[in-house]
C-alpha cells in the first residue's frame, strides 16, 4: 500500500464534519490510482485472473500430469505395451497388471500410459501445424483484403466444406506406411479452417485501430505493422480456439484409429484399444473403460483450459 499524504493530515478543532470528510469516503480509492507505473498489459491481467480460476488450476495440473506421462510413460510401468502374452489373456487386475490384461494378453495399464504419448503428440503437433497454416492464411487475408482476401477466403471455404474426419479418412486410407507424422499432416491439412476464419475476423477488427494508424504514420511498413502490431493484438481468440482444437484433433486421431484407418497396430493408440475392447464389452467392460477414460480426461483438460483462457481474456466475463 502506498501512503497518501492527505490521509496523514490531522483534523483541526471545530472543523469536524457531520458528513464524513472527503478524505474518509471511499471515493479516495478512485484518486489513489497509481499513475507512476505502466498499466498492466492484457496478458498480465489475464494471467492474474487465470491463477485465481479453479478451472484453470485443475486443468493445468491435469495437463502437467498428462505431459509427464507422455514424456516418461516407462516410469510408471515396467510392462512393455507391445508385448502380448496369450497365456495371460483376459486377466483381472493383479499386482503385475494393475488394470488387468486384454484378450490378447497386453498389459492394459502400459497400453493406456504409452497411448498418452501418441495422443498428446498428435494433438500438439496437429495444433501447431493447423494454427500455423490457419494463422498465416487468416492474417494475410484479413490484413491485405480485396481480391487477395476473396481468394484466400474461398480456399478456406473449400477446405471447410470437407469435414475433418472425411478428408482424413480418404487420405489415410491411401497411405501405406502410416505413422504419427503422416496422421499429423493429414489432420493439419484439413483442420486449419476455423483458425483461419477467426484470425481473419480478428485481424480485420484490429487493423483499423488507432495504434496501427499511428505506427503507419511513424513510417512502419505494412509487414512490420502486421507482425509487430496487428497479430499480437489479434491472436487472443486464436489461442483459445487452438487450445480447444487440440482436444478435437486427439478425438479425430482416436476416431481414425478406431475405424482402423489410423496408426498401425505397432503404435499404441487409445482409439485402436477402444476398438479392440469392443468384442469383450460384455465380459470385460473395464477394457473399454480405461482407454476411454484416459481419452476423455485428456480432451476435457484441454477444453477446460481453453475455456479458462477465454474467460481470462474477456474482460466482460472476468468482472462477474
Amino acid at each position: 500500500m502506498r501512503s497518501d499524504p492527505r490521509t496523514a493530515r490531522s483534523v483541526r478543532p471545530a472543523a469536524e464534519h457531520v458528513v464524513a470528510s472527503l478524505d474518509e469516503t471511499p471515493l479516495q480509492a478512485v484518486d489513489a490510482v497509481d499513475t507512476t507505473t505502466a498499466p498492466r498489459s492484457m496478458w498480465s491481467e489475464a494471467w492474474h485472473s487465470l491463477i485465481r480460476n479453479p478451472v484453470f488450476l485443475i486443468s493445468a495440473a491435469l495437463i502437467v500430469v498428462i505431459l509427464f506421462i507422455a514424456a516418461f510413460p516407462g516410469l510408471l510401468t515396467n510392462q512393455d505395451p507391445n508385448y502380448a502374452k496369450i497365456t495371460q489373456a483376459n486377466q483381472p487386475p493383479s499386482a503385475e497388471h494393475p488394470f488387468g490384461t486384454t484378450r490378447l494378453g497386453y498389459d492394459v495399464l502400459a497400453r493406456v500410459l504409452y497411448g498418452t504419448r501418441t495422443s498428446v503428440m498428435v494433438g500438439f503437433f496437429t495444433m501447431l501445424l493447423a494454427t500455423l497454416i490457419g494463422g498465416v492464411v487468416g492474417a494475410l487475408a484479413g490484413y491485405v483484403g480485396g481480391i487477395f482476401d476473396a481468394v484466400l477466403s474461398r480456399i478456406t471455404d473449400i477446405f471447410f466444406a470437407i469435414p475433418l474426419i472425411l478428408g482424413a479418412i480418404v487420405i489415410a486410407n491411401r497411405v501405406d506406411a502410416l505413422n504419427v507424422w503422416i496422421v499429423i499432416l493429414v489432420l493439419g491439412v484439413f483442420g486449419w479452417t476455423n483458425i483461419a476464419r477467426i484470425m481473419r475476423g480478428s485481424v480485420i477488427s484490429v487493423k483499423n485501430e488507432d495504434f496501427v494508424t499511428a505506427s503507419t504514420a511513424l513510417g512502419a511498413n505494412p509487414v512490420t505493422n502486421l507482425v509487430k502490431h496487428v497479430v499480437p493484438n489479434a491472436i487472443a481468440p486464436v489461442i483459445v480456439t487452438a487450445t480447444v482444437n487440440l482436444g478435437v484433433y486427439i478425438v479425430a486421431e482416436a476416431t481414425l484409429s478406431f475405424l482402423g484407418l489410423g496408426l498401425p497396430s505397432s503404435s499404441v493408440s487409445w482409439g485402436g484399444d477402444i476398438s479392440d475392447a469392443r468384442p469383450a464389452l460384455r465380459t470385460q467392460p473395464m477394457m473399454l473403460f480405461y482407454p476411454s477414460m484416459a481419452l476423455a480426461i485428456t480432451v476435457l483438460s484441454f477444453i477446460m483450459l481453453g475455456d479458462a483462457v477465454r474467460d481470462a481474456l474477456d474482460p466482460k466475463a472476468r468482472k462477474r
Binding site: N173, V175, L281, L288
Partner: protein, 309 residues
C-alpha cells in the same frame, strides 16, 4: 435480398469446384491403380482392363477426368460402381436412411441443446448451470464411438429397449438411439453456445426495458432474449451438418445402419474411388446448401440484417 442470394450462389461455385477437385485428386491420384482394386486378388485379362480403363476415363489426364466427371454429374450421372450397379441407385437407397438419421440428430441436439442452454444461461452460476456445463463437457470429451458402444450395450443388449442392429430400411423409431448418439456432441456445443449467448443478451438494455414495461417473464424470454441470442446457434447447426455426415460413418458403423456413412466406409476400404468422390461431392453440396440457408435465416432472426443492395 435477391442480389445477396445471387452473390452467395456465385461464391458457392468456386468452393464447389475446388472441393470436388481436391476430393477427386485425393481419391484417384493417390490411390494407385483403381483397376487393381476392382480385380482384387484375381488377375484379369488385358482386354477387360482396357475396357474398364475406358469406362472410367482413366486414359485421360487427371484434370480431364475430373471435367468429364463433372459434366456427367450435371446430367445426374454419378457413374457405375465397382459392383456394377449405378452409383446413383446405391445412393438413392442409402440417402433416405442417413437423411432420417441426420434429421433426428439435429432435432434432438437443437431442442435439448437450446432448452438446456436457456436454462443454464438464465441461471448462470447456479447449481443447475454448473451441472449442465459439466454434462456438456463430459459429452464433448467422451468420443462418439464410446457413447455409441455404451448406448448400444446398455439400451440394446442389457435393457433390450432399442435395436442393437438397425439394418436395412429402418423405421424412425429404430433410428432414435443412433440419431441421439450422432447428435450428442453437437448437443453439448449447442448447449454451450446458447448458454453464453443467452447470458449476454439477458443483461442487455432492451431486455430490461421489456421487463420494465410489464411483459411477463415468458414473453421476455421468448420474444426478446431467445430471438436475439439464437444467431450463433443457428450458424453452428448449419455448419454442423457437414460434421454430422462425417460422424455418420462412425455411428452407422456401430449400429449397422445401411446409409451413406456405411456406403462411404465400404467404398474407402475397397478403394472404390468413383463412389468415394460421388459421396463426398454429395456431402459438399448438402453442406453448401445448408450454409446458404443459414445465411438467409439470419435475416429472419435479426431484422437489422436485411442484405440491402
Amino acid at each position: 435480398m435477391i442480389w445477396y442470394i445471387g452473390r452467395r450462389l456465385l461464391q458457392m461455385i468456386p468452393v464447389f469446384l475446388g472441393a470436388t477437385l481436391i476430393v477427386y485428386l485425393m481419391a484417384f491420384v493417390s490411390s494407385g491403380d483403381p483397376i487393381a482394386a476392382i480385380a482384387g486378388d484375381k488377375p484379369i485379362s488385358q482386354a477387360v482392363q482396357d475396357k474398364l480403363r475406358a469406362q472410367y476415363n482413366l486414359d485421360e489426364p487427371v484434370l480431364m477426368q475430373w471435367l468429364i466427371y463433372l459434366g456427367n454429374l450435371f446430367q445426374g450421372d454419378f457413374g457405375i460402381g465397382f459392383n456394377g450397379r449405378p452409383i446413383m441407385d446405391q445412393i438413392k437407397l442409402a440417402f433416405p436412411v442417413t437423411f432420417r438419421l441426420a434429421i433426428i440428430a439435429i432435432v434432438i441436439e437443437t431442442i435439448f441443446g437450446v432448452i438446456a442452454g436457456v436454462i443454464a444461461g438464465l441461471k448462470k452460476g447456479t447449481l443447475i448451470d454448473t451441472t449442465l456445463l459439466m454434462v456438456s463437457l463430459l459429452v464433448i470429451a467422451v468420443p462418439t464411438f464410446v457413447i455409441g458402444f455404451l448406448a448400444q450395450f446398455v439400451l440394446g443388449v442389457q435393457l433390450g429397449i432399442a435395436p442393437v442392429n438397425v439394418g436395412r430400411d429402418p423405421s424412425w423409431q429404430n433410428l432414435l438411439v443412433p440419431g441421439a448418439v450422432l447428435g450428442a456432441v453437437s448437443f453439448a456445443y449447442v448447449l454451450r453456445l446458447t448458454r453464453t449467448s443467452i447470458a449476454e443478451v439477458a443483461t442487455a438494455d432492451h431486455v430490461r426495458t421489456a421487463t420494465a414495461k410489464g411483459l411477463s417473464r415468458g414473453g421476455v424470454i421468448s420474444k426478446h432474449i431467445l430471438r436475439n441470442s439464437l444467431i450463433p446457434v443457428v450458424t453452428f447447426i448449419g455448419a454442423d451438418l457437414g460434421a454430422l455426415m462425417g460422424g455418420a460413418i462412425v455411428t452407422e458403423g456401430i449400429f449397422n445402419v445401411s446409409g451413406i456413412g456405411s456406403l462411404l466406409f465400404r467404398a474407402i476400404n475397397d478403394g472404390e474411388s468413383p463412389m468415394i468422390v460421388s459421396l463426398v461431392t454429395l456431402l459438399v453440396i448438402i453442406f453448401l446448401i445448408a450454409n446458404l440457408t443459414v445465411d438467409l435465416l439470419y435475416a429472419v432472426l435479426d431484422p437489422r440484417i436485411r442484405y440491402a443492395k
